[in-house]
Symmetry: C2
Subunit: 300 residues, 2 copies
Amino acid sequence: MNESDLLARIAERSRGLGGPVEVGPGDDCAVVGAGGRLLLTVDQLVEGRHFDPGTAPDLIARKAVARSVSDIAAMAGAPLVSLGTGCLTRGRPDADELCARMAHWANAFGCPMVGGDLAFHDGPAVLTVTVLGTPHPTRGPVLRSGARAGDLVLVTGRLGGSYTSGRHLSFTPRAAEARQLADALGPRLHSMIDISDGLGRDAGRLAAASGVRIEINAARLPLHPGVTDWRRGAADGEDYELLFTAGGLAEGACSALASIGAPVSCIGRVVSGEGCVVIDPEGSAHDARELGWEHRGDQP
Amino acid sequence: MNESDLLARIAERSRGLGGPVEVGPGDDCAVVGAGGRLLLTVDQLVEGRHFDPGTAPDLIARKAVARSVSDIAAMAGAPLVSLGTGCLTRGRPDADELCARMAHWANAFGCPMVGGDLAFHDGPAVLTVTVLGTPHPTRGPVLRSGARAGDLVLVTGRLGGSYTSGRHLSFTPRAAEARQLADALGPRLHSMIDISDGLGRDAGRLAAASGVRIEINAARLPLHPGVTDWRRGAADGEDYELLFTAGGLAEGACSALASIGAPVSCIGRVVSGEGCVVIDPEGSAHDARELGWEHRGDQP
């Protein structure tokens, strides 16, 4: 069973948790009512998978925090506090620096680290960061499941080449931009996800959660300088940009989003049906499930 | 630098976080105001350290959840929701069962698992569980720092032999008992901690956090059947019993706590000064820092 299957089974088992749980596993964050509503997310950073051995502690720490903050951003929430853990290779000399930089970046990204745990083992480093956030005060949590036929599909920033360029270590989560989007679009901001596993695959997840079909126009993908093949813009992971759908916007309406602190590109549309395709410049449709990457636990 | 030193430095850097943070790192949980007040804690479970390779997935999952719930209990809080992660050895065949049992135990212990992450690596399994809880409605969070000279020192349950007997895998966190203690003692319940690293060491932490001295009477330690040496009751880790101090109680007042769903033993007292000693049956005092175990990251 691969990781997607496993995560799907976890989500399935957790449907209808009830009580304080408004949204359980399967979206970017959980939504929990506790006094006010809270967003909750946790993510792992694994040496050899999410960063190469020898990466500077500051960059490891930054990415560990940024990945979880990006999940809060993907709901248009504001980070509030965080918790961090490290299970480090025995004898690792920079354990203290790593912890210090995690605390630093948690502060820098707006979610001071209020707890954690540290352990050592005979394996690669594994860090986790849990972030609590608050939803946008008027729009509320922006879920993956809100896309509707007729929506435009938009994306912040530029895509592709994140891992090879090192951008995956130094990106700033789009929390401010997500709030600006929710401010500007209000209820017209129908759905959102952050792109961690590749635009195609994450767009497919959004389509599946919403019960719609997403069609992406490859020629419109905003590629990073140096990235020339649309396939890399659609398939490379670790962009941490916001992919969102909006209703009631004309095709040329991205100019209405010019005040957002990042470029916003209209890259496709939501239609009835299911699945997600990327239409290449020659007009051929490619299944998004064949794009994006996945780490398979059942392979060596 | 060993793990205690590292954790102390983390706590030091996080003092006075302000904003919504009422209590930062260094106690059993953080206390955060977000609508209502929340308790937050995260803990790790590492293969080869907290459980032996080959342990049944159900027991691994149970312990992973129970350890974090025990931290909520140590503040007299009620578990609310949880998040879990697993970084498992590549090819591990029981990943799905492990996740299913984590979800099961999270429900069983009152904190449905609302999110998580799963990854694979070439190392021993590392699980984390974050738990959010709510403080006791009238007593509020019971901190480590509230002990005062004149308090009695009390402990729930029995001590010693947890790892060798397998009890460390099957204990039930004392969340219900902690609430009952807060109900029964109210403001007289001055301080509390759960015993994970050995009674002596954890009593030392409570004394240090409170700026007092704790004197424990070895002859009064409630030992598990089969544990005959007081040193094991004072030093063995993984008991997950509640150690607490209470004011305004007469020495024989443990009977007032007879309605608590676990035996409660009065094992010592709080005096002015610093440190923690265990006084053996011959009247010699042993420094608690020399009892209890610690995993040193700087040793092979």
